[in-house]
Assembly symmetry: C2
Homo-oligomer: 392 residues x 2
Amino acid sequence: MYKELNPPRRILMGPGPSDVHPKVLQAMANPLVGHLDPAFLEIMNETMDLLRHVYQTENKVTLAMSGTGSAGMETLFVNLVEPGDRVIIGVNGLFGQRMVDVASRCGAEVIQVEASWGDIIEPEKIEDALKKHNNVKLVAVVHSETSTGVRQPLEELSEIVHKYDALFVCDMVTSLGGIPTKIDEYKIDAAYSGTQKCLSAPPGLAPVTLSPRAVDVLAKRKNKVQSWYLDLSMIQNYWNEERFYHHTAPISMVYSLREALRLIVNEGLEQVFKRHALYGGALQAGLEAMGLELLVSEKHRLHQLTAVQIPANVSDLEVRKRLLEKYGLEIGGGLGVLKGKIWRIGLMGYNARHENVVFALAALEDVLREQGYHFISGAALEAANRYIRDHE
Amino acid sequence: MYKELNPPRRILMGPGPSDVHPKVLQAMANPLVGHLDPAFLEIMNETMDLLRHVYQTENKVTLAMSGTGSAGMETLFVNLVEPGDRVIIGVNGLFGQRMVDVASRCGAEVIQVEASWGDIIEPEKIEDALKKHNNVKLVAVVHSETSTGVRQPLEELSEIVHKYDALFVCDMVTSLGGIPTKIDEYKIDAAYSGTQKCLSAPPGLAPVTLSPRAVDVLAKRKNKVQSWYLDLSMIQNYWNEERFYHHTAPISMVYSLREALRLIVNEGLEQVFKRHALYGGALQAGLEAMGLELLVSEKHRLHQLTAVQIPANVSDLEVRKRLLEKYGLEIGGGLGVLKGKIWRIGLMGYNARHENVVFALAALEDVLREQGYHFISGAALEAANRYIRDHE
């Protein structure tokens, strides 16, 4: 006989999931309505409206796929790519690599443009690839590389991609609701995201947005989309006025997304971005004052997710284990080539607050000291607070 | 500015989603833990254990895919089928049709064995197809056809399929937690389900189970699975001892599934099946006493989902609209060839209770009377209660 669920209390400051806003948790406890109930169709409309606002777009096809962020990635590739299509993918971290894998499974001919994990993809390198290979259907990059904490500049890249008449596709899993995505302003043709990062909702949905140009590509496909579950031509008919039944929408997850987006829109999108920048910057100032080195140069650093180099002679696993056991604090380890070399500390959505900065710095300081790593006590907190005073 | 979410109160007696058990709603309101947190890994283990119990199997690979029931369908086809493989699919309703579509998108050569919507697939017809076509890799049927309310007998079919050395795959979306699935006893090689039917959890996860024989087929694939998101060879490495990160699990949905399964196991699986049979039978007795005709013959009728023929001169849409507006009661309409011809009334999971039988019969009686359909008042309730007395 199992007992009732009683998960331990954690503070989730890894690369995601982040802590869910209490009001979002509450929204999920609402009893269900049917997936074709007029009341639910209204909730879907509101969710799309709110999503457009947070994605900064007027794209009609802006909706939530019924899977996690990676399902969003797969959605864009299975729908926009047909077997034999040529695509260019920027690879400077795990999620670029994943795009290569996903696109290859769709039968794409993939050209990889690589950069070190921790660097951006230089726009010139993409342009070189576009010059070398003709008929490229789409170019994809990761806006916020969750495995490194790099923020990829998009504006110049978008111009280049469109000069060669390709579609510009962005992974915005860790961007949405944390930093500007500017879908329309930057002319991004398609983007996908997740709910468990800066939106502070639980994982389980993948918000995607497609420009009219991308939708047109979809409409002109020669072959059926290889995934029935992720076939946008059918799914958009459920989300739009047609309301054709496709699959049963994950009602409670849509409740959570609507509530999470509502909180962001009510706070004000610009204010939300400022909050992420302020407390993310403060955390970074604190970490540096502790003598720790950050992986990414200041210019290309995300605020919502910081990669910290693990000091020599300090055990990666031990520190994370102690933080979890002693403080209930989760931070992330490194992935791929950065495994054992970095920690990833997130300050996303609801967690981008002063108290989390203070708490994380204090807990990390304590646990690092246990590991024999020494530094001036209190310097981190002082630097963080100074950063806040100077930037508020 | 949008207001806080405030969905109307409904009673969900359509083909699913069904009403979620209050304790399951509560479980979802728990704060998150990370998807690699030791506490979450324990919750995953418990969920797999509980799932095995409810699926009546000892299959190691018994886990929940991060999508709705249809993602479960797609999971089995993308993993078990390779381009050019020959498969036989029984089609006697919408979900058989959907399997054909999904399997075709995987590059399968599909042989359809058809029956009228409302009938079962006769085992001899499957055997005829197996005699006619050699090298059939798998045979798939729908155990509980949600579009018709038909219960497909599996035992004899399984023997036939194995005689021809094919895999036997079953859609158990509306079966799991409502009627016996007997995966091991009937030697079913793979099955998928959803959470929003007899489990009384919200939609969003697809519990699947694969026999060692099916897992072996997976291991011997020549090509990569075309879906990265649904690739079981990677996903089982996250759910088993390896704990390899694949995608971020939908934590809150796993909470809800664990709690829903726990409630079923604590009540006792046999008792749960008896409860579905008792109240489903009572509802059907009541509907017939009202003079309504049921679509499916008694022998092959599901208890958890009943298809009722819409009487002549009664408006399908109007009746469902009035039930929703006047009583907050949702029942389902027909799909495909049965659109406008039947209603589908579910008594699933938490909803399989006496009060729901009484309420649904009374509400339907009232709304049908508004539509000019006349019958002896009270006869339905009397018949339902008599059924309960006789079968309890």
